[in-house]
Amino acid sequence: MNSRKTEVLVGAFVALAIAALLMLALHVANQGARGNGETYNLYAKFDNIGGLKVRSAVKVGGVTVGRVENIALDPQDFTPVVTLSISADYNEFPETSSVSILTSGLLGEQYVGFQPGFSIDGVENLADGDYIEDTKSALVLEDLIGQFLFNKGSD
């Protein structure tokens, strides 16, 4: 029995599968901010999160630095609290940073836009567990239309 040939072919088969997996890993999948493990959590309270979902991206100037880890409602003041899981590679955002909920394109997904503040002396960096004070809520179409009509009416 030519078991040698069989072994070589099975070896080639496994190697091909590993090559395919590598291709998926390197060219197809986004290991993103999660990929290299270490993250820290920041919290932000919004009035309205619109269509934001768990796993939505957190971007600084278009670069993904983290993901939305959790969305919950604060039991005291009934405002949504969003947990942002930020890659530990980016751990020097000043306390004055702000976050807003933005939409990519007209019909695109919503993501968290992270606007780093200025770092002046006396302003500390955000650390694990901190709240980001300066937040802008998602734009809700109905509110926009309502505002527009209201402004029209007062003209």
């Binding site: 395919a20 197809v28 999948a29 993904t64």
Partner: protein, 259 residues
């Protein structure tokens, strides 16, 4: 009264089949491993179920990727979103089509062959004679085939998805003129390693287990006549396909359906 009895006997038959299937599975899996003997046997079987299924998997993957790119393009181009062709092809392949179509092809190509082979070994008394030689056929014949199937199918599914994505590239980029950069980069920013790739592989492992188990049990449990084996082979393909599609829904609901 008559139908009640029939329902009862059908139920009992199902349960006893499940019991026998579990017996076959445990007999094959819970066996003292003898690596020197069993690894070469498993490699031999991986050649049969894995390497020999490769051509059908590669060709199917290529064509499915190409068709999806073509279909997706005609829809997406209306919204000016043909840049999203990459993620569309990649996500459909990784999450659904890769594991599911591989499992269906595997059931038809390798599963039916496994059933027929084991059924024929039973019909020609090879299993019986092995048992009389004090060699447990569950360990010597069934176990290597079970392991080979369980290892090979996820590998085939990975190859299927990768080839499909390349097929999508072939049609989308090389033929229809989608920008190669956006095909890859939007794909890369959308597809998640854990959520999409790993979940697809987990699905494939589950399907591999179920399909190989069904194939082996149907062969081992076949009525040892030509009619019995042909029936068992058909049942392998039907049951495996139904199990894969049903389980796919359940797994998808667990993996992607719950926020």
């Amino acid at each position: 009264m008559e139908w009640l009895a029939r329902l009862g006997s059908a139920t009992l038959a199902r349960f006893s089949a499940m019991g026998r299937a579990t017996f076959v599975l445990t007999g094959a899996l819970i066996a003292k491993p003898q690596p020197m003997k069993h690894i070469p046997l498993t490699i031999q079987q991986m050649y049969v179920v894995g390497v020999q299924s490769l051509s059908i998997i590669v060709v199917s993957g290529l064509f499915i990727g190409m068709v999806m790119a073509l279909q997706g393009y005609t829809i997406l181009v209306d919204y000016g979103a043909e840049g999203s062709l990459g993620p569309m092809v990649a996500l459909s392949l990784l999450r659904e089509l890769g594991p599911v179509v591989t499992a269906l092809l595997f059931a038809g190509r390798a599963g039916s062959a496994l059933t027929a082979e084991i059924g024929l070994m039973k019909a020609t008394e090879q299993l019986s004679s092995m048992e009389m030689m004090a060699v447990d056929p569950l360990r010597r014949v069934v176990a290597p085939r079970l392991w080979a199937g369980m290892i090979s199918m996820p590998l085939l599914a990975i190859i299927f998805s990768a080839v499909g994505i390349l097929g999508g590239h072939l049609v989308g980029v090389d033929w229809l003129g989608v920008d190669a950069g956006s095909y890859w980069s939007i794909m890369q920013s959308t597809v998640e390693w854990n959520e999409d790739v790993m979940n697809g592989i987990i699905k494939s492992v589950v399907f591999a287990f179920v399909c190989t188990w069904i194939a082996i049990f149907k062969g081992y449990d076949a009525v040892p006549t030509s009619e019995g084996i042909s029936k068992a082979t058909t049942q392998t393909v039907v049951y495996s396909s139904l199990a894969v599609l049903g389980l796919d829904f359940v797994l998808t609901a667990i993996m992607f359906g719950i926020e």
